[in-house]
């Protein structure tokens, strides 16, 4: 299991995704309202770069011809054929029990960083970093 420091937490804003390479895999890191999630950037259908799809909510219906959106920002829709995946769990919307994409653990960890602007006396500042575990 590898540990990969991705970037400072404030470099990935809520609603945004960052696609990185780690251990020969393409992985998308999502910020959903301040929480971070990671999905394999490969659609299980035909291999499209899933994490480059539209980030949206879950369309649900309480009765025929009525629709509303829930879980805004928690669904990614594949850029190729539109299959939807739950970013939190990696499960497909149409068949959550049999179709899923791999998820990875993401943590936000404080790390000491040398401030290069201070030349004379090296100091360390504590910053939050996004860390991916594969």
């Amino acid at each position: 299991m590898g540990r990969h420091v991705i970037c400072r937490a404030d470099e990935l804003q809520p609603g945004a995704v960052r696609i990185i390479e780690a251990e020969k895999r393409s992985i998308g890191i999502f910020n959903i309202r301040g929480d971070f999630y990671a999905l394999r950037n490969t659609c299980p259908h035909k291999g499209a770069p899933l994490c480059r799809g539209i980030i949206t909510g879950l369309a649900v219906s309480d009765e025929p011809l009525q629709l509303r959106i829930t879980r805004d920002g928690e669904i990614v829709r594949c850029p190729w054929h539109g299959w939807e995946f739950d970013i939190l769990s990696g499960r497909s919307v149409y068949n959550p029990h049999r179709m899923r994409v791999k998820t990875y653990d993401v943590a936000v960890e404080p790390m000491a960083e040398e401030d290069p602007s201070v030349e004379t006396y090296p100091v360390q500042v504590e910053e939050d970093y996004i860390v991916l575990y594969i």
């Binding site: 629709l67 539109g82 939807e84």
Partner: protein, 367 residues
């Protein structure tokens, strides 16, 4: 030494198949047959202007005026149906699917169209159903008058021989649309299935027969039947009709069936991609089809190799979804004695009778 012989299976007599024929065309010989069942105003209109208003097709048909040429000169439509179809082909139950009233749905005057349907229904009960207990009826419906037809369904839908309604393929809106809800509510109340029969496309107020316009010849027109049913089927599913009406059963009559597997696969694929636009469709379309949609065998599909039919039937779950129909007395009639004879007996029993009993809520086996 005594030798016990196994019974010779080659000599086994095939047990008589229980047959429900889901497409038997009945009708009247002249519009004047309907006068006694029509309000005077409409009887006079028909007498003065003939059937030109309610005409249902604009092409030449096949055979002799659409009928088998060996049937055309039958003096009595009813007697010939009983003798040549029910007796000769050993049909146990024949669902009368009409013909003459389909065009009523395209008449611009909806009240006139509804009056014709009501009259034809009364005529059918009196002149056909009352004269042979093997007949069941798919009652005529004027699709442009859903409220009026809901009343009509409540009026005669409880008659024991009425087991379905029948609507033509041609329409102003595909049949899953909410405008038809009163019809389906009435069908659920009266435990009737919904049959769709090719006809009326491009006629009167209905939409053109294809999105590519009007074909010139009857043979071209025949090729567009399946697409018409596809349009209705997608509408039933994606408008949520089967969610609204869990008891709804739709039987597509006389467009063959080999197109079904491809079409159902296509709907499932597209649902995976576009589910979010119609999230009231809770399950893959194929599951709604298996539960709610049936097609009949007529006109039988004929692949290069007849044995391939069994594969197609398996793909479409034909042990549940496929119902026999003969289309008597039309020129492209399928004789049950010559239809799907290569299939295993188990499957033949399903297609020729058992599945129909499960499809039409009111249908009971005779005796």
């Amino acid at each position: 030494m005594e030798v016990t012989r196994a019974p010779d299976s080659r000599k086994r007599v095939r047990e008589k198949l229980f047959i429900v024929d889901t497409d038997v065309h009945h009708g009247f010989e002249s519009w004047s047959d309907l006068y006694p069942y029509l309000p005077q105003v409409y009887a006079e209109r028909l007498r003065e202007h003939g059937g030109s208003g309610p005409s249902s097709q604009y092409w030449h048909n096949g055979g002799m005026r659409g009928r088998r040429a060996d049937f055309l000169n039958a003096d009595d439509l009813l007697e010939s149906t009983r003798r040549q179809l029910l007796d000769d082909c050993e049909i146990d139950i024949a669902v009368l699917t009409g013909s003459s009233a389909y065009g009523a749905c395209g008449i611009p005057d909806a009240d006139f169209g509804s009056a014709i349907c009501r009259a034809f229904n009364d005529y059918t009960l009196e002149h056909w159903v009352a004269r042979d207990e093997r007949f069941r009826v798919a009652m005529a419906i004027n699709t442009q008058d859903p409220l009026g037809m809901a009343k009509e369904i409540d009026r005669i839908g409880s008659h024991p021989a009425v087991i379905a309604i029948i609507m033509p393929g041609g329409a102003t809106k595909p049949y899953g649309n909410r405008v038809y809800d009163p019809i389906y509510e009435a069908c659920e109340r009266n435990r009737l299935a919904v049959m769709i029969h090719f006809n009326g496309e491009g006629v009167g107020i209905n939409g053109p027969p294809t999105a590519a316009g009007w074909p010139s010849h009857y043979v071209e027109g025949r090729m567009m039947r399946a697409p018409v049913y596809m349009a209705h089927m997608a509408s039933f599913i994606f408008e949520g009709a089967f969610e609204k009406f869990p008891g709804l059963r739709v039987v597509n009559v006389e467009a063959g069936f080999a197109w079904m597997p491809w079409y159902v696969w296509r709907m499932d694929s597209d649902w995976k991609s576009l589910r979010y636009q119609a999230p009231w469709v809770k399950r893959p379309p194929s599951e709604y089809v298996k539960e709610h949609v049936r097609v009949n065998t007529q006109p039988i599909d004929e692949p290069e190799n007849e044995r391939d039919l069994e594969q197609i039937i398996e793909w479409m779950h034909g042990d549940q979804t496929l119902l026999f129909g003969s289309d008597f007395p039309h020129f492209d009639f399928d004789d049950p004695r010559k239809t799907l004879t290569r299939l295993p007996d188990r499957l033949r029993r399903r297609i020729f009778g058992e599945s129909a009993l499960e499809t039409f809520p009111k249908l009971q086996p005779p005796g």
